[in-house]
Structures are given as C-alpha cells and as structure tokens.
C-alpha cells in the first residue's frame, strides 16, 4: 500500500497519538507521520477534526478518523488480518472496552488531576487516587492476562495500548512529585507489564523518551503557572 494512503496527524508528547502509532505498528502498516505544532495547528488538522481540533487524526484514503480509541478500532477492522488488536469473542471484547473506558473516563482524568492540584494536601489526594486506580488495574491485569505478559495475552492488544500510552506521563508525575505511582510490591503484575510494554517491538521506536517528556512537561507546567500567577494579580 502506498505510504501516502495512510497519514497520522500526531504530536510527539501525545499519549493518544502514541496509541495510534502502536496500532499501526501491530498491523505493520506503512504510514506518513505528520507532526503537529499544537500551538499553530495545521489547516489539515483543523479541516480533518473540526469538532475537537485535536490529535490524533488518522487519514486513510483521504478520509479522516478521530478519537484515539475509535481510530484503534478502525485500524483493527479496516486491516482485519492478524494480529488482531481486540479479541474475537464478543464478551472478551466487552471486557476490553470496559477497561479502556475505565482508563479514559476515570483513571486518566485522575492522572491529569495531579498537575492541576493546588497545594500539598490536594496533590497528595490526587496522587493517592491515581495509585488506587492502578490497584484496580492490577487486579484487572491479573484477570485479563491469565498469567501471560499482556492484558491481551501473548501480544499487545487493546487494553495494553489504552493504558501503556500513559507510562511516560506516569514517569513524569513520579519525578515531578518525588513519589512512586507504579509501586512494584503493590502492583507486581503491572510493574512487569510496564517493562515488557516499553520494550515491545511495536512500542520501542515510537514511545517518546521519558526524560524528554519530563523536560517538555516541566516547560509547559511552568509556563502555565506563570500565566495563572499573572492573571491572579
């Protein structure tokens, strides 16, 4: 398939764009990656995602697909040959979609909330909540993986992608707040899974460097703090 048939509008720090990179790699799809500057969005992005104006957007045969999990499912369905990203059994698919929804609707907002929490008490509460969510996900991992390396079994699948994309940002939250979130003795399954995920062939080359991400996060959050301080004066 011609490279220009598949384009991904992304941004290197975006965990949501990372999901799509991984899904495309799982299917060995050749694609053109267009790096967006989120402070100066391209016409193509604005036209392709007029509702949210966000990355990622997948453009296939000139048709845009938006929302990272909708894109991942699209990739699984449009390139239906193995390896599959979602399981084939409807019940297993429902379980996978449940955990992806938990991650997006509950756990990620908690992770995001850490940066927004003001004051030591609020920060601690926010971090505790992220950790509690990881304990729930540890249990989910045990049930889903059935002793194998990934939520999906032997290979990376839907829930692995949904959660694994945030590992760099978990590292950022840990470093910025001088805490451990992925605590090995409380979450041994997830700790081992995290290492295997980051080392996987479909992830390794597309996952952003953790320290570069930390530097980026520090820059953004310091700029935001300055903006808030000046608007409060």
């Amino acid at each position: 398939m011609a490279t220009s048939d598949v384009k991904l509008l992304g941004a290197w720090p975006s965990p949501f764009a990372l999901r799509v990179h991984i899904a495309l790699n799982i299917k060995s799809i050749d694609y053109e990656c267009l790096e967006e500057n989120l402070l100066a969005k391209s016409q193509l992005l604005l036209q392709s995602n007029p509702v949210h104006k966000k990355v990622p957007v997948l453009i296939h045969h000139d048709k845009p697909i938006c929302e990272s999990l909708a894109i991942v499912q699209y990739i699984d369905e449009a390139w239906s040959s193995a390896p599959s990203i979602l399981p084939s059994d409807p019940y297993d698919r429902a379980v996978a979609r449940f955990w992806a929804a938990y991650i997006d609707d509950k756990w990620f907002p908690w992770l995001n909330g850490v940066a927004n929490a003001q004051g030591a008490e609020a920060k601690k509460a926010a971090l505790d909540q992220v950790r509690e969510g990881l304990v729930v996900l540890e249990e989910a991992f045990g049930k889903c993986s059935k002793g194998k390396d990934f939520f999906s079994g032997d290979r990376i699948g839907y829930v692995d992608i949904a959660l694994g994309c945030f590992l760099g940002w978990v590292y950022v939250a840990e470093k910025r707040n001088d805490v451990k979130l992925l605590v090995e003795d409380k979450m041994p399954g997830l700790a081992a899974w995290a290492n295997k995920f980051c080392e996987d062939g479909t992830v390794k080359d597309v996952m952003p460097d953790k320290d570069e991400l930390l530097e980026f996060a520090n820059m953004i959050l310091e700029a935001r703090a300055k903006l808030n301080a000046s608007s409060n004066n």
Binding site: I65, E67, E77, Y91, F98, A101
Partner: protein, 236 residues
C-alpha cells in the same frame, strides 16, 4: 420446548426506571428483538447481584448474558450488536463505524456529562456548564443538518435507527425535565431545528414510543437528586 431450537439465551437487565443509560440498553435489546428479564434495582439498597456483577462502579445498567455481566451502556450496546447479528445497530463499513463511535463519544462527553453536571450545580458553576452544553448542541445541530433530511430521518441513515440515535435518544425524554428542575434552558427549536425534527421523529418510532416515561414522575425524582447534591455541596 422446541427441539433443534437455538440454545436458550438467558438475558437479564439490572436497571432503574429513571436512568437514561438503562433506557438505551432497553432500546438496543428491543431493536434486536431480544427477550430479556428486567430487574428494578433499589440503588439505596443494592442487590448482591449488582455488587458482584459491577464491583468497580456498582452502577446500573448491568446486562447479564447467561450469567456473564457486561457493564457501561455503550459497551453493552456494542456487545449486543456483536453478539446478535440481526438488525445491525452500528454500520458495517469501518469508516462509518468510526464516525458513529466518534459521535457517541462526543454526545457522552459534551452533552450527557454536561447535563448531569447542570442538574446538580447552581450559580456560576451551572452557568459555565450550561454555556458549554449550548455550544455542544450547536455542534450536534451542525451534524444533524448535514446528515438528516426528509428522506433520512435518523443518524442510522437508510437503515433507520442506528447507534447514534440510540445513544442520543435520551435527550427526548430527559433534557426538558432536567431543564425544569435545574432552572436553565438549552433546547431551542429556533436554534436547533434539525435536532428538534429528529426528536419528534424519534419519539414516534413504534419501539420507542411505549418506553417513554411520564414527565411529572421524573421531575419529582430529579428534584430529589438536585436537592441531595446541593445539600451535600453546601456542607463542604
């Protein structure tokens, strides 16, 4: 019992009468012609079946299929669609499916969540969320204007009702009630003519019409919910 018949499927739905999330699942089941047993839960005294079926959220709806629990209304609807092949809810084409999922997500995040928040807040907090809700309705009106016309009454297209219709349908019965209870207005037939036309058509669909709830009963319920949340907020 007929011999050689399909394996008997045991389908049970745990719900409460007033939940739009439960109603969606009922619509999906009826759309497919699936027989099911409905169990009304008392959320102040949750059954052990509910708690063991949905330990993470402890909420309704819960679909139990041959004893296996499926939770989260959108996950349940996709499960129903994939497990029972008749009367497809989602489109067949992957690109159309992705668009349907996109809009379902948009509705959930920008309209459903915002309406819930508007119900339980007041003053500046409520004003902010109502403004966002109006903006979201404008976006949805744009999509409705692009998709719907005299020949295409529903988002499901030429197949009639589809995923987006089932996900959005709750607005027909619930938004007016929550507007009244919360003391705000987002529905505007002048600004949202296509949405209003869609609503008028949706409530007339034979499988939908008998499921609609009496507004007065809903107002009483949601007034109670609003008072409870505002009372809790005042204590903080």
């Amino acid at each position: 019992m007929a011999s050689g018949a399909m394996q008997e499927e045991q389908v049970k739905l745990l719900g409460i009468w007033v939940s739009p999330f439960v109603k969606r699942v009922e619509w999906a089941l009826k759309f497919k012609g699936i027989e099911y047993e409905y169990v009304e839960e008392d959320l102040t005294n949750k059954s052990s079946l509910l708690l063991t079926s949905n330990p993470v959220h402890q909420k309704v709806p819960v679909l139990l299929h041959n004893g296996n629990p499926i939770v989260e209304s959108l996950v349940i609807i996709e499960y129903i669609d994939e497990n029972w092949k008749q009367n497809p809810i989602l489109p067949q084409d992957p690109h159309e499916r992705a668009k349907a999922r996109f809009w379902a997500n948009f509705i959930e995040q920008k309209i459903t969540e915002a309406t819930r928040t508007a119900l339980v807040t007041e003053g500046e907090q409520q004003e902010k969320v109502v403004k966002e809700l109006k903006e979201a309705m404008e976006v949805l009106e744009g999509e409705a204007a692009a998709k719907l016309n005299d020949k295409t009454l529903f988002f499901g297209g030429k197949n009639g009702l589809g995923y987006v219709d089932i996900v959005l349908g709750w607005i027909c019965n619930w938004v007016e009630v929550i507007e009244e209870v919360g003391g705000f207005k987002v529905l505007d037939p002048q600004k949202q003519p296509h949405i209003h036309k869609w609503m008028a058509n949706f409530v007339e669909v034979p499988l939908i019409k008998p499921t609609l709830l009496p507004k007065e009963k809903m107002v009483v319920y949601f007034q109670m919910v609003r008072q409870a949340y505002l009372g809790l907020a005042a204590k903080k």
